[in-house]
Symmetry: C2
Subunit: 396 residues, 2 copies
């Protein structure tokens, strides 16, 4: 079992059921660091942000000590009295934790348009706080789940030494509907005991999110609640990481690796999905082109259903590539499915029986070489199954 | 039974099985006008256009006498020998019809990446031509179908008088996968006996396509084969319609109405769909905003599955509106589902039982008022069902 968000020094976690989920499963989580943290966040671009997101955006610049998360209710599009409820809720938690209310962040995920279950959450605070422990990371990871089938955690050693200890990073995430294209919520919470300045943390998070979570979504179809938050409490006592420190790249790469691993877990747990899809695009003219092609192919409903049925209909992949405005030329393009070349400027004869057999695997890799330049990108997704439809017909 | 493409004077149609479809159903259609036609076309923006589309783009400026259409094979991404096959095929048809090869247009729809079934099509020409008749519009409409469950035809009287007769417009279309977002092919062929100049015909077609077929697709995810073609043979002998003729607006409105009716038929026949969805957006700041919002809501997978399950989860509609960059303000927005107001700046209490009952209907209307201006737009779509997934797993 991983240690997730409590892997770095000085972070405590908790997760309980406060009565929002009727089945008794965890629905309220808390991350707590007695040492104040530098924080950075990447929040939804949706114009209708949840009140929880609005609260967090307002406070992310402060020294942060706690993050409260509820599942089962999105606290979005539910009328402005819920802003007042949000503020009162956080004030109540601040009193209980004996910290400043502006040092608390808040995230929510669940159904849109219903009143924040203020009383249930308030009544859970005592148990939630009693429950705080460096061992309860898994309960916190469960408390943020909605239709996820498993909790998602990851932790990593950066190799950066501090006076007290090596710098660690830990994280937990929850997935989002079929992800791609998605309107359901993606949440991720990351902790680190690094000493790092605010600007370096902002840049490191932005780059990591671009290569990971932003490669599992498409078309800026973000939910009202999407959030990625990182907290750095500095307890490793390393030399402060600035953007021009030699350790900055190392930190960035570790954070990126952690975010990619969590993104893959999210993609592989898409609602009703039976397969994980990875689309590698190489040889692009520019970064934008390769990202566009990777996401378009990975997000094509026809490609997703073909993969679900182990149907080697590569024409759908080529058509998806052509539907972008990337700089491409059909005669240069090479497409491989599960390592088998199916298209190279024109159709390539291949062993179809073997390909179908390979496509029955749980992990499908599509490789596209545009042969126009040196840029590459990878997108992550899952197949589209009858179960996705069933789950989303019944959600509310 | 409608008259479709043979409703205007002087158009002949034909449809036969030439052996591409194994089940004996029509797979080869011909539209023929002995009188040469002014033509206009709207073709896919996909970078990998089928050889049939490339042929038609090359010749659309000419006087046109015939349009050949095959289903079951897309003639796309299948290697450049298929361009030669395409040219030879058209030359053969030109010989048989005793017309110039450059007066023939060509469309294809079906599986991508397979060799054009040149011999089968050539061998069908004699029967195809013998079969030409003003009564065989329905056979032609069947010959362009792929996964469509019914042929789609419409015809309209414009009210514009000519020396010979009133100007008529007729059309036939085929649908495309789930349409939205789609990579499958949408084809539409329109005939008219109007006398109209090329520029007026181009503008009329562009406007009609924008309000109809372009409102059933999303994100420019066009297939390799999408085409809308109109032919005008002038046999009504009306006074030539220019863009400043009083009849121009009348012609435009009739053409738009015909295209919208065909677009609705396509949307209602989305693969595996059980319901037709219409999204009206009013009160927009500009045309672009209302089109964007209408298409985003109509194309949201979560909205589509909610409608499939008669699930009154309006939060998904509001979140889809917010995910666009349209000029909106939540406190002004009003949303109605099946005539019942569910959101007006904040949630509105409504009779949920009644709403669920109404959502069990086959036609679902969503009305959105942005209250920011005077623009409006309508998008057409269908719900997402388990059957869509099943059909597309097995397609090839």
């Amino acid at each position: 079992m991983g240690k997730g968000i409590t892997y770095p020094l000085g972070f405590y976690a908790s997760g309980i059921n406060c009565g929002i989920k009727k089945n008794g499963k965890e629905d309220l989580s808390l991350i707590y660091s007695p040492s104040p943290c530098i924080a950075s966040g990447s929040f939804t671009t949706n114009q209708f942000k949840s009140y929880s997101v609005l609260w967090s955006i307002k406070n992310i610049k402060n020294d942060i000590k706690a993050v409260l998360i509820n599942s089962g209710n999105a606290n979005a599009c539910n009328g402005k009295e819920n802003w007042d409820l949000t503020v009162r809720l956080i004030e109540e938690l601040a009193l209980k934790l004996k910290i400043d209310k502006n040092s608390i962040l808040f995230s929510s995920t669940g159904i849109i348009g219903e009143r924040l279950p203020y009383e249930k959450i308030i009544n859970g605070f005592d148990r939630l706080i009693e429950n705080l422990s460096p061992q309860n990371n898994i309960l916190a990871a469960k408390g943020i789940m909605t239709t996820d089938t498993f909790p998602k955690e990851y932790e990593i050693n950066t190799g950066i030494s501090g006076r007290k200890k090596e710098v660690f990073i830990g994280g937990m995430a929850k997935g989002s509907g079929m992800i791609n294209p998605n309107m359901a919520t993606m949440l991720c919470f990351i902790t680190t005991d690094a000493v790092i300045d605010k600007k370096a943390l902002d840049i490191a998070l932005k780059e990591a999110v671009d290569e990971s979570f932003n490669m599992i979504t498409v078309d800026n179809d973000t939910s009202t609640n999407d959030s990625v938050i990182i907290l750095a409490n500095g307890l490793a006592r390393n030399k402060t990481i600035h953007i021009d420190s030699p350790e900055f790249d190392i930190f960035c790469n570790s954070l990126k690796k952690l975010c990619i691993e969590l993104a893959k877990k999210i993609a592989s747990d898409g609602e009703g999905s039976s397969k994980f899809i990875e689309v590698n695009v190489n040889g692009g003219w520019c970064k934008k082109d390769v990202r566009k092609v990777a996401k378009k192919v990975c997000g094509s409903l026809l490609v997703k259903t073909a993969i679900s049925g182990a149907n080697p209909n590569w024409g759908r992949i080529v058509a998806a590539i052509g539907s972008t405005n990337a700089r491409i030329d059909m005669k240069n393009i090479e497409v491989k499915i599960c390592g088998i070349t199916v298209f190279k400027g024109e159709p390539v004869e291949c062993d179809k029986e073997k390909l179908i057999k390979l496509m029955e695997n749980k992990e499908i890799k599509i490789e596209i070489d545009l042969k126009r330049g040196n840029f590459s990108a990878t997108a992550y997704g899952c197949d589209l199954t009858e179960d996705y439809v069933r789950i989303n017909k019944e959600y509310s």
